[in-house]
Every structure is written in C-alpha cells, then in structure tokens.
C-alpha cells in the first residue's frame, strides 16, 4: 500500500469510528474513551520504541505527572474546569516535557536494556512520590476528580467527552505522523538502525533522542490530563509499573513504528480486559497468550500481518520488509 493509501485508510477508519462508537451504546463509548486515552500514551511510547529504538518502561511517569497536575489544580484550586481546561492541557504538556527533560539527562545516554531499566527506575521515583507525599498527592487514597470541565461544551456528557478525547487522539496522531515523516523523524530511524553510522555522518544522535524523549514526555502529560477526567480518580495505581508495561505491551502488540499500532494494541488490551473479563474468568491468559504469540511469530505486531501474508505468497522476495526493529 502506498503512503497515500495508508493515510486515506486511517482517516476513513477514524471517521467510521467517530460515527459507529457513539451509536454503540454508553458502555462501548466508555471503553473506547479509555482505550483512546491509552492509545495517546502508547503512541508516545511508539515514538521512542518504534522510531528511536528506545524501549521505555517509565512512560507512566509523564502520564501521572499530567494526571496529578490536573487533579490537584481541579480539587485544590478549582482550576481547569472551564475555559482554563485548555490552559491545564498546555501546563500538563509542559510539565511532562520538563520532567522528561530532567529524566532524559540520565536516561537518554543509555541504550537498549540499560535504557529500559533506567526509565523504569525513574518511573518508580515518581511512583514513590505519589505514594508517600501525602500532603500533595493524598497518598494511597489518591485524589477524586468528581467534576469535568464545562466550557460551552459540557464534558460531563459522555458523548461530548468521547469526541474531545477522540479529537485529541486524532490531532496527536496527525502531529506525530508529520513528525516521524520529517527529516527529524528520518534521522531517528537512522539512529535506531545504526547509531554509530549516524554519528559519523555528523548527526548529534544524543540530541535527537533527547528531543524525542521530551516530545514523548509532553504527549504522556497530555494523556494524563485526559485520564484524570476519564477515570475520575488519580492514585498511585496510575503511576504503577504496570501502566508503563501496559503502554509498551500495546505498542508491541499493535506493531512498533506504525503509530496506529499503539491504538490497535490499546483497543485490543481494553477490549480483552474489560469485555472478555465479563464473559470468561481466564481472559488474562488470552491477553498474555496473544502477546507471547505476537512476539514469537509477528515481530512487527498485528500491523505486520499484511506484510507477513505477502511474504507467504512470495516466499523468495520481500524479506527486507520484515526487518525487525533492532535494539
């Protein structure tokens, strides 16, 4: 499929979803809203993993920084519940970016598994603060965000809120798409494949990765704002390691380096977790099994299935298409 056809397909699918989901009942809409918020977080992971080759296990840090900022402003200062919601969005993205800029000083110079462990450790720092800094975060109980913003559009209406999250998702997707297709994004891919060669060619590879890390942090902050209002509760559970693991899992499941793969992964994880769990008690085996099989047999994730099929049909050629992301 040409790039143009891919873009048209994605836009068509998005339009179809924007029509279908609101007509599928409140439960599906709630599920879709949650999945979309995590899809935004997953795309920030994908920017790092799929394009820069950096497997981050600490993305929950930026997510929770955004969520806690939103919750604290809303409950303590009644700020961000009207037009100033947009100000909160900007502030959360800035705070996410600032946190990432600070953490990145430690994390970005590491690569591969070291990067993974350092981001995990940094994520745990934030978790520790959220868990124990009672006066600010209310500790284990977390903070209830009971009211949603109302700025002409009343976001306590689930459908309005869904469309807002949907819009944020679409804009993030578009912005990231432009970013990864830009010379900057191309350089990131070059760094993923052969960092040394990029260095020799004169690229400041550290700076490229650092900037990508900051952008991912900002997007993480954005998803945190939306999560605070989606979930209605911001607690240490938001920051817990499994949130970072989930985001990474979604990207790998859907396909790293595809952007929409993270969204597909998010839809599958939420679909299986919330929907299947009402039907069968062993849903998590299905999730774990799907995930393990994906890693074993589909290095490119579910988005890699078409390429896999093409490869079967023409076994002699096309193997270069499947080159998995190097660590």
């Amino acid at each position: 499929m040409s790039q143009r056809a891919k873009v048209i397909t994605v836009v068509a699918v998005l339009l179809a979803l924007a029509y279908i989901i609101p007509h599928s009942g409140p439960y599906v809409m709630l599920l879709a809203t949650r999945a979309l918020v995590f899809a935004i977080l997953a795309m920030s992971v994908d920017l790092l993993l799929g394009f820069a080759g950096m497997a981050s296990l600490g993305q929950a840090a930026y997510f929770s920084v955004g969520a806690y900022l939103t919750a604290i402003l809303a409950t303590k200062y009644q700020f961000g519940l009207g037009w100033d919601f947009w100000l909160v969005v900007v502030l959360a993205m800035l705070l996410g970016a600032a946190t990432a800029a600070f953490f990145g000083l430690f994390a970005v110079r590491a690569s591969g598994v070291y990067f993974l462990m350092i981001t995990l450790a940094l994520g745990q720092c934030v978790w520790g603060l959220a868990y124990r800094w009672n006066s600010l975060t209310n500790g284990d109980n977390g903070i209830n965000v009971s009211t949603r913003p109302n700025f002409g559009f009343d976001l306590s209406n689930e459908q309005t809120f869904f469309f807002l999250v949907f819009a944020f998702f679409s804009v993030t997707l578009a912005a990231l798409y432009v970013l990864v297709r830009s010379p900057f994004g191309r350089s990131l891919e070059g760094i993923r494949e052969r960092e040394l060669r990029m260095k020799i060619l004169g690229y400041n590879t550290w700076l490229h990765k650092y900037i990508a890390f900051i952008i991912a942090g900002a997007i993480g902050g954005l998803s945190g704002v939306l999560w605070a209002f989606t979930n209605g509760l911001v607690s240490p559970d938001t920051v817990v390691l499994t949130t970072s693991v989930d985001a990474l899992l979604m990207v790998v499941l859907g396909g790293a380096g595809t952007l929409v793969g993270g969204a597909i992964g998010s839809a599958i994880v939420f679909g299986l977790r919330e929907y299947l769990s009402t039907l069968v008690p062993w849903w998590q085996y299905v999730l774990g099994g799907v995930y393990v099989l994906t890693i074993l047999y589909l290095p490119m994730g579910l988005m890699g299935i078409p390429a896999r099929l093409r490869q079967w049909r023409a076994p002699a050629s096309g193997s270069s298409e499947l080159a998995p992301a190097e660590s």
Binding site: F106, L122, R132, V245, P281
Partner: protein, 286 residues
C-alpha cells in the same frame, strides 16, 4: 534517636538487603550471560512463596518447602528459557518483551491457583524467638535471612571462582562470542544460569513470605527493588549485587524511618544519581 535506633534500623536494613540479594543475584547473573532483564523475576519470587505455602499445607514441613518451592520454580524458569526465550536467538529487546508477557501469565496463574487472599508463611518455632545482645532484640528469623544469603552468596562465589563451569560462566559474561569460539557451550550456560536465577528468586520468595507475606501484586512490587539492586551494583556482577542489595535494604529502611513522605524517593533517587555518575553501576562492566 539513640544508638539503639540506628543499630536496629541497620540490622533491619541488612536483613532486608539479604533477601534482596537472593532476588537480585539471579537477575544480575541472567543479564550477564544473556544480556536480558527478566521482567518475570518478580513472578518467580511470588511463585516461590505460593508453592512453599502449598507444600506446607500438604506436608506441614517448612524446611521441606524451601528446596521444593525453589526447585519447582527453577524448572519453570528452565522451561521458559528453553521453550520461548531460546528460540528467539540473540535478540534482547524481544526477549525482554516476552518476559513481560510471562509476568502477566504467571500473575494470572497465581491468582487462579491460590486466590486473592494474603498469606503469611509461618517459620518454624525455633526461628520465632529473638536473641538479646546488649539490650537490643534481634529476631532470629532475620538473623536466619542474613545467614542464608551469606551461605548462598559464598557458595555461588566459590562456584564461580573455583570450578570449571564457573570459569565458563565468567567467560560467557565477559564475551559470549569469544567463549563460544573457545568451545564453551554458552547455550547450556544460559540454561543453567536462568534456572539458578529462578531458584534463588523463589528461595527469596519463601523466606520473604515470613515477613513480607505472599499476596497478589507482590511480584510487581518487588521487581523494581530487584532492579534497583542490579542497577546500583552493576549488571552481571555477583559482588555488585551483594553491595547493591545492602545499599537498597539500608536506604529503604532508613528512608522509611527518617523521611516517611519521601521514603521511596530516597530509595530510587540515589540509584539515579549513581547511574548519572557511573552508567554501568558501581561494579558493572560495559
């Protein structure tokens, strides 16, 4: 805050560090040999505790539960390495991601088999007592934890330094390709080390069950601590894991006692600082 306070906190920290050493040593060795971090390592710890509980319920013997649980989890780890990690070849990122999947599967499995209740593993009566030294009470169980970690640490160290297979492991950690070149079966080495790592983690789980308890979610709670141990000590180094475990154990205890609001921060922030100064940890090699 007198000398007694410092003594007790230091003792508690060291005994907690002994537990973390059992967990971290395996994680560190596995990294050294295979260049992967095993995110299912916390699950081994948890499964060790649960299997020990089942053994105790069936036989009533705590002493029997230690080796049985550790061996059972070692077999689990062995199967995981043989059937799933090995077929991926040398591809650390995919292997790490795969261990995430297993962490989830183990978590669900434990929930299905043992339910969602919190359990305690009661140690035998002999270890329930305390000894008094200079007016300070030292619970015997914590002394036992320190002794176990010491014995195991020394045993592994001797095996690494004095035996042929230990030399082969060290060679593989240093340079797997060269090791293969001189005829060392690195494939078997990684199998052995993975099983050993799982064994140690499970042993830690059984012993830790005496004072941390055994409950759902423990796996993902203990995992970051194990990471802290190997990050501070340096990956692939046994001595590093020992030092790292002591530092983490002490930082955790003193942090909780002195700065309750920042206690986890005092644990992870020094780790980040060490990384900033020495990216490979205190004793790690590039």
């Amino acid at each position: 805050m007198n000398a007694q306070f410092w003594l007790i906190q230091a003792f508690n920290g060291v005994s907690y560090g002994a537990l973390l050493f059992l967990l971290g040593a395996g994680l560190s060795l596995i990294f050294g040999v295979m260049r992967i971090v095993n995110l299912a390592h916390g699950a081994y710890f948890l499964w060790g505790g649960y299997i020990a509980l089942s053994v105790i319920w069936a036989t009533g013997s705590w002493a029997l539960s230690l080796p049985l649980a550790a061996l059972a989890v070692a077999v689990l780890g062995l199967l995981m390495e043989r059937l799933f990690l090995r077929p991926l070849g040398f591809d650390p990122l995919r292997q790490v991601l795969l261990t995430v999947g297993f962490a989830y599967l183990f978590q669900q499995g434990a929930l299905d088999i043992w339910g969602g209740n919190n359990f305690e593993i009661d140690p035998p009566d002999v270890l329930e007592h305390s000894v008094t030294v200079g007016g300070v009470y030292f619970p015997l169980y914590r002394v036992f934890m320190i002794a176990t970690a010491l014995v195991i640490g020394i045993a592994i160290w001797l095996a690494m330094e004095k035996t042929r297979i230990g030399a082969a492991v060290r060679a593989t950690v240093d340079d797997a390709q060269m090791a293969r070149g001189v005829g060392i079966d690195t494939n078997r080495i990684s199998m052995l080390i993975f099983a050993l790592g799982a064994f140690l983690a499970a042993l830690g789980g059984v012993i830790g069950g005496g004072f941390l308890g055994v409950y759902p979610g423990l796996d993902f709670e203990i995992l970051p601590l194990a990471f802290a141990v190997v990050i501070i000590g340096g990956m692939g180094s046994l001595g590093g894991a020992a030092i790292g475990a002591m530092l983490v154990g002490l930082a955790d205890n003193f942090g909780k006692a002195l700065f309750p609001e920042l206690s986890y921060f005092t644990l992870y922030a020094p780790m980040v600082l060490i990384l900033a100064i020495r990216p490979t940890g205190l004793f790690g090699r590039e």
